[in-house]
Symmetry: C2
Subunit: 491 residues, 2 copies
Amino acid sequence: LGIPAAVYALPTRIRPTRVSCGPQFRRWLPISVSTLAQLLQVLGPEVISAPDPDADRYRRDFSVTAPAGVRILALARPRNSAEVAAVLRFCNERGVAVVPQGGMTGLVGGAVPISACVIISLERMRAILEIDRVAGTLTVEAGAPLQAVQEAADAADLMFPLDLGSRGSCQIGGNAATNAGGNRVLRYGMMRDLVLGIEVVLADGSVLSSLHKMLKNNSGYDLRQLFIGSEGTLGVITTLVLKLFPKPRSQSTALCMLRDYAAVLQLLGAARAGLAANLSAFEVMWPAFYDLGTTGLGRKPPLAASGGLCVLLEAQGVDAAQDSLRFEQLIAASMESAIVSDAVIAQSQREVREFWDIRDCPGEFPAVFWPQISFDVSVPTGDIGALVQELRDVLLERWPAIQLLFFGHAADGNLHLSARTAPDVLPEQEIEQLVYEVVGRRKGAISAEHGIGLQKRPYLYHSRSAAEIATMRRLKAALDPRGVLNPGKIF
Amino acid sequence: LGIPAAVYALPTRIRPTRVSCGPQFRRWLPISVSTLAQLLQVLGPEVISAPDPDADRYRRDFSVTAPAGVRILALARPRNSAEVAAVLRFCNERGVAVVPQGGMTGLVGGAVPISACVIISLERMRAILEIDRVAGTLTVEAGAPLQAVQEAADAADLMFPLDLGSRGSCQIGGNAATNAGGNRVLRYGMMRDLVLGIEVVLADGSVLSSLHKMLKNNSGYDLRQLFIGSEGTLGVITTLVLKLFPKPRSQSTALCMLRDYAAVLQLLGAARAGLAANLSAFEVMWPAFYDLGTTGLGRKPPLAASGGLCVLLEAQGVDAAQDSLRFEQLIAASMESAIVSDAVIAQSQREVREFWDIRDCPGEFPAVFWPQISFDVSVPTGDIGALVQELRDVLLERWPAIQLLFFGHAADGNLHLSARTAPDVLPEQEIEQLVYEVVGRRKGAISAEHGIGLQKRPYLYHSRSAAEIATMRRLKAALDPRGVLNPGKIF
């Protein structure tokens, strides 16, 4: 969704919380002898502390706050994998729940405590361990902020391409645990595609160290991919080997106006054929979103609103002169063939920033479109136009005053929707139920990039069959038989 | 390894087999009532047959032949997932081993029966189900040959980039089960990176259908990646949704001579920076390999042998004129800076083929370098030069007459080695033990792209820790608690 720095500073929770702690979590109640005291004996006050009961930091992410009664038994801030293992071994033996935490910038409550638990925060494990320029890899501890990873790669004249609005706060281990996405997935893939090696501590304290640097490794099961995207329910990621890329030397950015989604698909076809691997962003904004991101925020629109769709198109390459020429030819040809009705190519870095600011305007929603409820779903790229139409029909029929903003990474099949009714009257669960039903019927995913966590857990069955969910449970039981790792998340 | 059509036709097994059926497989002995008769009752003669006892087809792959006493109880050739599920349910209930088979082109015995079992051959499930041009996907049944997939994509003016020497015989489901690699991994990734959706039947007959087309899907665990590369031990892959790419419009290919591996790494750095995502192959051939692939096979070398290393460099792009210009500039600059001592750029498709024929000469080994033992290992790209030196030292010290050919996909960290001692005297296990010890000590992988199967099973511990292997066993027990799926493979 790309929530920028402004939102991090919000003094109170930014969304109403609706988390219930049912009887299934009762077993996570505090154990008889003080967990904190025992852990202190094992690991000492350097690693274990009692969290300040007033501190909100370990109790909420960007969307969800822990229910008031939930007690954090101890806060563990380990300095290495061995200490992570010691905490997990201790808790696993005693059946104490453990919630691993990164930068707490998630949007689905995946790392929010919902029962009495020990928190493992990776915040002290933030070292960049090695950059191997030849292998094109960066080895880093899980608690390093994404931005520190980007900067270290940049200093070695290479690039780590994952990028999110929360880059300054989110941690690279959390990016892996949630399989983070962002704006460059089209060209570089999701976090899953950017991890070559991984070290994970299992619930029982065993350390799986698979810190390989090779693109190719078919020596048994790919354990790495099982932990990526498992939202802290199967193990705690402690170290990662990441894939780096050459820095691009050219960038071309344009805004294009198109009459409808059919034209958007034509432009996508032309962009794929003409730019191939250079195509790095293809962001679609429906009219109400474009209006809000420009005039709605007091900005002059780079292109006059046409009532049609706006596409932000970007390419990155290695040949500044030729790449921009080819990009201009693509835009010109698309206008001549009437696929694009109007277009503007950025002539400066300032204009590039202006174009992206429109796309990134959800960060400013708290000022102009609040309270709102947001969605992150995916369906096949060709179906997005019909999905938008169907969601609009269904939601407007039920709530004629509802305001809907559609935007998304269309080439990835990823659509975002933000919805607002009258101020303070947000029938959140009803809206969610309707939206996820439509997405499920279209064989889409109820989470494209944010994960399931706590917030989407009730709706998982819309995207995954009973057999799939049963298989996830089997895997969970195999790796965490006592169910101590991040209980109550995903399923 | 790229074994071409000539080898498929070899009338007898192409490598000595050394498979022992220890007591651990005794439990797979035939059950009391005839499995064949019972299966026939359930599924009928359309699906179930008794294999011709003389037919070798279901008893061997390219490297390993089943031990003589191993009995195939029944041959199942299902026509759809439901029939696959029926066979698995039947066998799982009775504890009968099941071996899933694709095109039997593997190199490690992964699909070779080693105990009394029912074979499930996917050969009848070969339909291309759908091509979605907008999503850029192709949905296909697991038994379709790789080449049929490539041709179907091509007919839709798109490309499926996975390519192997056995493309005409290998099946796409087998490519997924073994996470196949090949010559284009550098640019397009391995099979793991090319699968968007998957349908798998588990040992108990449950069907997991996750046939998604979206690049982004974070709705719970990524079950897909768990099955890819699991070599038929966790489930039987029945259908796949594959990712297609725009066809490249330019191709530039060169052979370069370099004095040593340090120069190879300099060229790789320049190629990555100058060609970025267009760089599609970077194949390194050590001197003895280059000599055998040219004069050794009666061909005129395109570049005079220099005693140094030869690199086959290739780029693919979308702009024929500019791409070849940039490619030529890269080669010229590398010669000016003395990284490359001699080079030739292909001027025709015939020359492109000639260059690749040198790299693909292992397919002709049976005529000129036989019997031999081959290796497929990986270490970080920067360590390959030292690995070659160490392997040479260790092996020549032990067997002064040993002949060693080194070649590989250096940018992927992937090195191949073929070794031959005097004819008919190949101390296979001793050589393997030595090679894998060296690779293990260097934290490399004993299998980069061929898998573990049966042949590398004794050496898995060189690449994977006890904790990793224990975790693989836990996953195996969770998904196949009776151990009926392809028993005795990987670990």
